[in-house]
Amino acid sequence: MRHGRLLIAVLLCAGLVISPSVWAASDVINIGFPIPLTGDNPDVGASSKNAAEMYLKKFPTVKVGAKTYKLNFIYEDNEFKAESAVKALTKLITEEEVLAVVGPQASAQAVPAGEIANNNATPMISPWSTNPNTTLNRPYVFRGCFLDPFQGPVAANFVTEELGAKKAAVLYDIASDYPKGLAEFFKQAFEKIHGPGSVVAFESFTTGDKDFSAQMANIVASGADVLFTPQYYSEVPLIVRAAKENGFNKPIMGSDSWGSGDLMGLCGDDCKGFYFSTHYAAAGARGATKAFIDEYTAAFGKTPDDVAALTWDSLGIMIQAIQNTGGLSGDLKADRTKVKDALASIKDYPGITGKMTFTPEGDPIKCAVVVKINEQGQFAFHKSVCP
């Protein structure tokens, strides 16, 4: 017992000696990342964390007003679950006392988490969430990507102007939220240009289907000039092969969901020559975008996907907002509101995925990029489309 008591006494003294060094750390800016490090989609979390780590290595400090602060990033696992996202964000805000939050990525976590951020008056930017509810009526919540109501018309205009399409076909997954929404926005936009009935085939399937020959037969028979299919990278190869087998030789157009994951590994030569709209183009990038891609590839051994690029930009714009406040008071509540105001008033932030300006709703006005899958299997820049 005596040893035990002695040990406690020594430890207490050690604590007192070391604690001043902990307390001196008040010139640190904490930024929270509620991201899915485990669960159904750990790749999304890994990409976000990689981008953030790279940022921290490059810019370990930030100068706000006259004072230089050390940046400290806190990653919290949200397990790709809604309840967990709520808990993780609450923990970041109340326990870790972060100044601002970058994440969560997917809408299923970003929508409930946005409510927590807004209630706690903490600025949050979700790099990847496309659900309108994420930022709706929440002044403290922003997002880093464009929304589907913008991407649909981008694709419709592109196939009209560049591919000369007059009749279009659409193939989409009716049970999945993102493809269904985008397919409808495309149809709306295309028929606005070419008149009602110009989308000659509007074919659907259900998540997990592997055989598309019935839909393809209809699409070929309809005489469409182009096929628009806003599906995920795992489904695209099957669709593209079904199209070839059924004799559909016209161009195929996709959406930003093509760009994540290992599309080329699964699709091979079949996908070459097709187009999709996305946030940025990896091949043929210039300037800051190229620097980002090169550094990321060197550090992590793979080309950054759109999650990584959008996280980088969301983090960058958040840091810019912190700098724009012109100085932090040290009172967390007041500083958070100051950062939110600064974030809302940033004009034309030069991100690697395009210039960003927020609408009053917290959604960015930014350009989309149309990329072509070239003969080397790279996603090459083809055209930039701005709202």
């Binding site: 406690i8 430890l11 207490l12 050690a14 604590g15 007192l16 070391i18 604690s19 060094s21 902990v22 490090l37 485990t38 669960g39 159904d40 750990p42 919290e76 696992d77 679950k81 809604a82 309840e83 709520v86 808990k87 993780a88 609450t90 923990k91 805000i93 109340t94 326990e95 006392e97 809408s107 299923a108 929508v111 409930p112 409510e115 706690n120 659900n131 309108p132 509810n133 709706l136 009716i174 049970a175 999945s176 939220d177 269904k180 929404g181």
Partner: protein
């Protein structure tokens, strides 16, 4: 502790502590916890600062410790920088835990044991409602003060309480009735969607469900109705699965109920009127801690009454031998059906509460992952036991939170614990234990003192 326990353990520090704290009634423990949270509220921040902790440890210091361990693992595996000063956090958290929780609880429980026993003995003579109200009131007060110190504690506590209700409702079917049902998240989904339909549809302007149908200033008073509506809808859904599936037993019921879970999930994915895959957001913020506490309390009370009634005994008979039960005039079909509907009703209520805590639901929340979670809670805690459900739900939820910094390792540690429990206690930690409120509140005999 009973006399035989004391006879077997007589040596060592744990035994000494055990002897010291024997004879403390439930009332004494509750007062001890109350004292501990009051101590934490008064000196928690100062003590944490003195000990060099960045902030008051939020989950009894476990979170603080696992954070340091995570840092060490990162430093070893990924070669990240490690600040040795962080190591102090581990003993600091332990000191904090002892000073703020263990010592006050032990002191108050020990010193107040005699008074608490006397009070418990007096209350024992009264109608059950009075001592029950005193105990539950004390428990709520303690939880309230504890949760008021941090929003993170509050949200964790809310979701844990809901998990308790859900686990208990599944225990009726998997524990008391002995069937393996997999459709519980489905019932929860029905409850969550229907109560959201009620509250969001009637009282909130929403993009998916349209304008508020009945804007009313005192709309929060209808929350119980919304929950009950969700629960009843879940029961009706359970009826749909019960009618065909109770012609089967064992594995077949598991498969049918699993299929039902997928049907419910894809139903909500395809119902565009309810938001489809995008779900419903913007539930009103009505699920405050007292509301959840009362609802979960009612749930535990009524489920406990149900399983200790003749119905519950009939269920146990059906579980042990259906033919024999039938021969002993138990209406097995009716018994199974009732249990299934009661279980689904409370699962629906739990779903309604969860929808209003998270304030967002989508079909993906009620998938196979949720099923694994609640099954783990039931089997970890113990079959056929109210205590077991509480222990299982609380320990899995708390561990899930406290080990969060360990990221992927968390998913190795928790399943490993589950495996160990399954090996050494195949029916769970506290299985087959009756929950008798009066027995629990009875005064205890102190050692060296005869009745």
């Amino acid at each position: 502790m009973t006399g035989t326990d004391q006879a077997t353990v007589t040596r060592g520090l744990p035994a000494a502590v055990g002897r010291l704290l024997a004879g403390v009634p439930l009332l004494g423990w509750l007062l001890g916890f109350l004292a501990a949270v009051l101590v934490e509220r008064t000196i928690g921040d100062t003590l944490a600062q003195t000990l060099g902790l960045p902030k008051m440890p939020v989950l009894f210091g476990i979170l603080t410790v696992s954070k340091v361990i995570a840092e060490i693992i990162n430093a070893v595996v990924k070669n990240t920088a490690f600040d040795p000063a962080l190591l102090v956090h581990i003993p600091a958290a332990l000191v904090y835990l002892s000073v703020v929780y263990l010592l006050p609880i032990a002191a108050v429980a020990r010193l107040g044991a005699r008074a608490a026993n006397r009070a418990a003995a007096i209350m024992d003579r009264w109608n059950l409602t009075i001592p029950a109200a005193v105990h539950i009131g004390l428990m709520y007060l303690t939880l309230h003060i504890w949760a008021a110190m941090s929003d993170y504690r509050l949200i964790t506590l809310k979701i844990t309480l809901i998990a308790v209700l859900l686990t208990l409702s599944l225990n009726i079917i998997n524990g008391y009735m002995g069937e393996f049902s997999c459709s519980h998240p489905g019932f929860m989904a029905v409850g969550a969607y229907m109560s959201s339909l009620f509250t969001v549809g009637l009282f909130v302007d929403d993009k998916v469900l349209g304008k508020a149908l009945m804007p009313w200033a005192l709309d929060f008073l209808t929350f119980p109705l919304a929950l009950i509506f969700g629960g009843i809808c879940a029961s009706v859904a359970a009826l749909l699965v019960a009618i065909p599936s109770f012609k089967t037993r064992g594995d077949y019921l598991a498969i049918i109920s699993l299929a039902f879970l997928f049907i419910i999930k894809s139903l909500f994915e395809n119902l565009q009127g309810l938001g489809g895959a995008r779900g419903i957001a913007g539930q009103p913020d009505w699920a405050a801690l007292p509301v959840i506490f009362v609802v979960v309390g009612l749930g535990i009370w009524s489920i406990n009454n149900f399983v200790t009634s003749t119905y519950g005994k009939a269920l146990n008979a059906v579980r042990d031998d259906e033919l024999a039960a039938e021969a002993m005039t138990v209406n097995t079909r009716q018994a199974k059906m009732t249990a299934f509907l009661v279980g689904a009703f409370w699962a629906g209520i739990a779903g309604g509460l969860l929808a209003h805590v998270v304030r967002y639901i989508n079909p993906a929340m009620f998938g196979i992952q949720k099923l694994a979670e609640v099954l783990a809670m039931v089997y970890f805690g113990g079959l056929n036991s109210v205590y077991g459900s509480i222990v299982g739900a609380v320990s899995i939820s708390l561990l899930g939170e406290a080990l969060r910094p360990l990221e992927i390792l968390k998913w190795i540690i928790i399943p490993l614990m589950l495996i160990l429990v399954m090996i050494y206690r195949p029916t769970g930690l506290v299985a087959f234990r009756d929950f008798d409120l009066r027995e629990a509140m009875k005064p205890k005999t102190e050692p060296g003192q005869r009745k």
